[in-house]
Homo-oligomer: 102 residues x 2
Amino acid sequence: MARLVVMYGTPKDAGAFDKHYFEIQVPIAKQIPGLRKYEVSRGAIGTPAGASKFHLIATLHFDDMQAVQNASASPQGQAAAADVAKFATGGVDMVFFDSAEI
Amino acid sequence: MARLVVMYGTPKDAGAFDKHYFEIQVPIAKQIPGLRKYEVSRGAIGTPAGASKFHLIATLHFDDMQAVQNASASPQGQAAAADVAKFATGGVDMVFFDSAEI
């Protein structure tokens, strides 16, 4: 199992972010080859110290790291990445890793 | 579904970190009430720009945000949090959020 975790910082306009994210980014990203599961945070993202700097966290599930690389290199992955620049006004942190249940 | 994601920055001594994490932290954390699933990253954590600043990312799964709060307040949760200070020499970022498949 591999995960691509996309953490969006608090945007300038949360309503505009959400509209673009769910109406444009999600439909593009769901076409990415090899995507097994797509999860998004709902509501506020907390930390032990209080509110976090993140507005939304998406977790995309793939079979393995090779699938993540293939997805990133695919036209659909490139289109999703290009779209991020259009709405992620609070910045974005992206990490990917192999993951195992213990 | 709710998630508690714990992101550990690159520690001073990766070997010592891993030994403490898997031999001490994991057994403590697995006793946290309400924990449904425990996943940890394996190997390097990447970003689109190259290596990330993180050494290990753990994802703890709970039924809902109330369960995360109960877990954090529990003696086992408190013990796990207290233990983190003993090995997380590269710092730690922790976020929790409600999550839904889309």
